[in-house]
């Protein structure tokens, strides 16, 4: 069955690397996370799940040893194609079709797994965690970054009545269910079911980004997949109301959007 989020990411792949998206709160948050990641000396295989157009993967590879194998998996076909073009002739980077629920790699083959703002799109949380567990080596490491329960609360409060009106309750709630927004405790509990709880930790952060309406609209490409069930003739009117509602949030600093980021970390125990 087609996943509307994946399909829409694929359809909009050519807009994904637009400056507006890259300079948006999501682009900046992604860059900050990516530059904070460090690869240990003994690592041989690095996996980026939901690698998109391969931006973070290439940046990681560019500042790492050349004998490390980098693998990116991405379910959206056109995003994958852009990633393949981006990495060019680099032989230590490969891009594969896959997703958290189905990682096309051998068991216990990955030393370090990371993912930036993709895990909240999984369709089966437990299957995804089991799959991560399967591909990681026994002493593997992991850093998963994904949105938390309170992400974007300013926008959600303003736009929910509008989406509810234009989509109707069934489609609106279906679109909400397309993303999973866990609390820190819920994510910790989830991963502790499959991994040794002593190796798992979860941190959370809140960062409020201020931007213009157009600045925020630049990253709308990231959430369009949730609105595909809306009749096209309603879409323009809905967009206009959403834009008006977001404008109403304006402050002297701009329109606020708070990213609630969860970081789920797996580290081997010293003993």
């Amino acid at each position: 069955m087609l996943n509307p989020v994946v399909e829409t990411y694929s359809l909009l792949a050519d807009k994904y690397d637009d400056e507006l998206n890259l300079q948006s709160c999501w682009g900046r948050a992604t860059d900050r996370i990516q530059s904070s990641l460090a690869i240990e000396d003994n690592v041989q295989v690095v996996l980026d799940v939901g690698c998109g157009t391969g931006r973070a993967l290439l940046q990681m590879a560019s500042r790492s040893r050349r004998n490390i194998q980098f693998i990116g998996i991405e379910p959206a076909e056109n995003m994958r194609e852009r990633a393949v073009r981006r990495i060019g002739c680099r032989t230590n980077i490969s891009i594969l079709d896959g997703r958290f629920e189905e990682i096309p790699l051998k068991s216990q083959s990955v030393d370090y797994l990371f993912s930036i703002f993709a895990f909240h799109w999984v369709t089966d949380l437990r299957a995804s965690v089991r799959e991560i567990h399967r591909v990681l080596k026994p002493n593997g490491r992991m850093d998963l970054f994904f949105i938390g329960r309170n992400n974007g609360h300013e926008f959600i409060r303003k736009t929910s009545p509008i989406f509810l009106k234009y989509m109707g309750p069934a489609h609106f709630l279906e679109s909400v269910r397309m993303r999973t927004q866990l609390t820190r405790q819920e994510s910790l509990r989830l991963f502790s079911e499959t991994f040794d709880p002593r190796q798992v930790s979860a941190d959370e952060s809140y960062e409020t980004y201020y931007d213009s309406l157009e600045g925020h609209w630049g990253w709308w490409v990231r959430v369009e997949g949730q609105f595909v069930s809306m009749a096209p003739e309603k879409k323009d009117a809905c967009d206009q109301e959403v834009r008006k509602a977001l404008s109403d949030l304006s402050t002297e600093k701009g329109i606020p959007y708070s990213i609630h980021c969860l970081r789920l970390t797996l580290r081997p125990r010293a003993d």
């Binding site: 989406f163 509810l164 609106f172 709630l173 909400v176």
Partner: protein, 110 residues
């Protein structure tokens, strides 16, 4: 319509909402069966999904969302009626009257 059952569900749902409501906006005491949970900022969209799951657990039956109006799921009184399979609005003359939809209210300037 089983009014006793409906009233019990309303109480149970209101208690759930007071426990799970978003911070700010409304005090627990201000949350009644009449207010619009989304427009009034009591719950966000994820909270609404959780609320519907709670109601379905309470009644043991799924809520048919396909045919209902937005207003019906955001107002506790209406939600509980729908969840129990009761008619949304019934006047004293015994005739059923449709609740105004969210769209109707907006057109009317509400």
């Amino acid at each position: 319509m089983n009014l006793i059952q409906e009233k019990a569900l309303v109480v149970s749902v209101l208690n759930w909402i007071k426990e799970h409501k978003l911070p700010g906006n409304r005090d627990a005491a201000e949350i009644t069966e009449e207010i619009d949970l989304i427009t009034d900022g009591v719950l966000d969209s994820i909270g609404l999904v959780d609320l519907l799951l709670f109601v379905e657990e309470q009644t043991g039956r799924p809520i048919d969302l396909i045919t209902v109006e937005p207003k019906a799921v955001c107002v506790v009184k209406n939600l509980c009626r729908i969840a129990l399979g009761n008619q949304l609005s019934q006047s004293t003359d015994g005739c059923e009257h449709a609740e105004p939809s969210c769209g109707d209210l907006l057109v009317a300037g509400g």
